[in-house]
């Protein structure tokens, strides 16, 4: 920001020494602070100080009183990454543990949400009932993860007389009934799909607005030149949507690192520990296993995973401000 050019007077300094900026009295200089102070105080006490406390706690052994019991150095992290198969298990194939499950979430949740959301955004602008389609897709955004959990427990019910999934799989396709949430090989994907269902609306709305911002002339020109719809999508729309797509991807990433509610409601991390994710381990270790220090280490890992996004956000905002 120091590189911002200063406006230079064309005809030299005005006569009489020029206009001096009005000297601000002490009170006026700090009046703005009065406006932001309540917010800053709340943030300092309830957001910044707790983050500091948690980071410190990650290096300690603690108990249900959350005190700094016994200094451990990096032992909590070492244990998490090398000696806790519920968190990270590389000894089998496919690897398991909360961290790997969360990686599954990152890959499948983000890509599925993006593909379906983008597809819907591109297709929906071509029909007159666009609004109706969008509303249908968008509604789940307003539904609490707790309710989403109940909705999908019903869909995934093992009884083909109750669950619509098995009604199709068993009743229509004639396959054996599947316990979608009881099978460790399937449970994570079943959960991911339920969450994709709830998130696609967001992707669609943001990308749809971006598509409408693309100047019509460009696409018309391509059409006149004989470009097919697929080429227009590949070579014109997609490049022009790269910024909104990256913004949406970041949002999905933050969402997926924090995912907790839907797993808590639908499977409780089970069967066994096979559907745990990072946030679930944090909750479980801190509030059920009485190891807040260990749980704090998990929280710090979450913070580290999200930190690059934080840096990105700040950097983007700074550059934007210089332009504006």
């Amino acid at each position: 920001m120091s590189t911002q050019p200063l406006p230079t007077p064309v005809a030299g300094p005005p006569p009489g020494g020029g206009l001096r900026k009005r000297a601000w009295s002490g009170f006026e200089r700090f009046q703005g602070l009065l406006f932001v102070m309540p917010a800053l105080v709340v943030l300092a006490i309830f957001l910044i100080y707790p983050a500091y406390y948690t980071i410190r706690l990650a290096f300690y052994e603690s108990d249900f009183h959350f005190g700094f019991f016994h200094y451990l150095g990096v032992d909590n992290f070492k244990e998490l990454l090398t000696n806790d198969p519920d968190f990270l298990d590389l000894s089998k194939f496919p690897p398991g543990g909360a961290l790997i499950n969360n990686l599954r979430w990152v890959i499948f949740y983000i890509s599925l949400s993006l593909i379906i959301g983008l597809g819907l955004a591109v297709l929906a602008v071509r029909v007159r009932y666009e609004r109706a389609v969008k509303t249908a897709i968008f509604v789940p955004m307003a539904i609490a993860a707790t309710a989403v959990g109940i909705i999908w427990l019903l869909v995934y019910n093992t009884d083909s007389n109750i669950g619509v999934m098995n009604a199709v799989w068993h009743g229509v396709l004639g396959q054996h009934q599947v316990s979608w949430l009881g099978n460790p090989a399937i449970v994570n994907y079943a959960l991911i799909f339920a969450y994709v269902w709830a998130s696609v609306g967001f992707v669609m709305v943001v990308l749809s607005a971006a598509i409408k911002g693309i100047p019509m002339e460009i696409m018309e020109a391509a059409r006149v030149d004989g470009a097919g719809e697929w080429n227009i999508f590949r070579r014109i729309m997609l490049p022009m949507l790269s910024l909104p797509i990256s913004v949406v991807t970041i949002w999905l990433f933050i969402n997926v690192i924090k995912v907790f509610d839907i797993i808590y409601v639908m499977t409780g991390g089970g069967p066994g520990t096979t559907s745990r994710v990072i946030a679930f381990t944090m909750y479980e270790e801190t509030f059920h296993n009485g190891r807040p220090g260990y749980g704090a280490a998990v929280a710090v890992i979450m913070l580290v995973l999200i930190a690059p996004v934080m840096v990105l956000n700040v950097r983007r905002f700074r550059t934007e401000k210089v332009v504006a």
Binding site: I48, A144, N161, V164, K258
Partner: protein, 296 residues
């Protein structure tokens, strides 16, 4: 906007042309309507289940309810009174309303300071708030619970959860509102200053009335976020008689695991208020979503 028109081919003139168009665009319509219906199925299934009698639910899928035509409101009656969900619903309201108004007020004041009243380190402080926007709740759960428990057992009342939600909503509030406030016409605010209006008066009489859409956007976000939140309520509301629906429904689930008549009715009760808010104020919601995401 222009693209919408261009994407829809020019209106066919004759009946046969129209037919050809319909057939050639058939796959598009089938795909779109198909996905939209698919997306509605889970919610519709839940809604229908909540009005069916328990024996019907156990013996046939909800999709049979169109032909069986045997509805009841009894599920809602039992879930509201017998399982205490009516009480939990009220708790949700008690938690959500102050947890929306507080960050809205503090956030708007701060946003005005950041947008229109210069002070030392203004930009640095604002960047810190931008960075705080995505701090995960998990880093605050333990220290806040300790803080609340040690100071007047705030976690046995609603104060704890109100404050926690206020802190977590504030960064977004400041960010969204400040970005809206800076777009207000400078002349207007300068004119008010020259007329001798104090900053507070400018905030109240000029900025707030002109910023209703942005304030509404944030209020809706925060409302939905707090109402739908499970994790923070789980940790910061220790007293079972004060817990909101999002926390009580999992308890219901562990007690009545397969009784979908109760579970569906409870889930539907939880959804109904956000859906009403969402449908009546959808415009503001989408505006806020776009402002927040495009800028973030």
């Amino acid at each position: 906007m222009a693209t919408v028109e261009s994407a829809v081919p020019i209106r066919a003139r004759t009946r046969s042309e129209r037919l050809v168009r319909l057939v050639s665009r058939g796959p598009l319509h089938i795909a779109l309507i198909g996905i939209a219906v698919l997306w509605l199925v889970p919610t519709v299934g839940l809604a229908l289940t909540s009005f069916r009698k328990p024996p019907a639910i156990a013996s046939s899928g909800w999709w049979h309810s169109f032909t069986q035509w045997d509805w009841t409101l009894h599920n809602y009656d039992s879930v509201i009174t017998a399982t205490g969900m009516g009480h939990a619903w009220v708790n949700s309201v008690i938690i959500t309303v102050p947890a929306t108004i507080l960050p809205l007020t503090l956030g708007a004041l701060a946003a005005f300071g950041f947008a229109w009243v210069p002070f030392p380190f203004r930009d640095t402080l604002f960047l810190i708030i931008v960075a705080l926007m995505i701090v995960p709740i998990q880093t605050s759960l333990v220290p806040l619970l300790k803080l609340f428990a040690n100071h007047g057992h705030l976690n046995n009342h609603y104060y704890g959860i109100w404050l926690a939600h206020t802190a977590f909503g504030l960064p977004l509030a400041v960010f969204l509102l400040r970005n809206f406030f800076v777009t207000l016409p400078k002349d207007l605010i300068e004119a008010a200053r020259i007329d001798g209006a104090s900053n507070l008066a400018i905030f109240r009489r000029v900025v707030v009335p002109l910023s209703v859409p942005a304030l509404a956007s944030f209020a809706i976000f925060q409302f939905l976020w707090v109402w739908n939140d499970l994790l923070m309520a789980l940790i910061f509301v220790s007293d079972p008689s004060k817990q909101p629906m999002t926390v009580r429904i999992p308890y219901l689930l562990s007690t009545y695991g397969q009784e979908y008549n109760l579970l569906a009715a409870a889930a539907f009760l939880l959804m109904i208020l956000p859906l009403l808010v969402f449908f009546s104020l959808q415009r503001y919601f989408v505006q806020g979503l776009l402002a927040g995401s495009v800028k973030t």
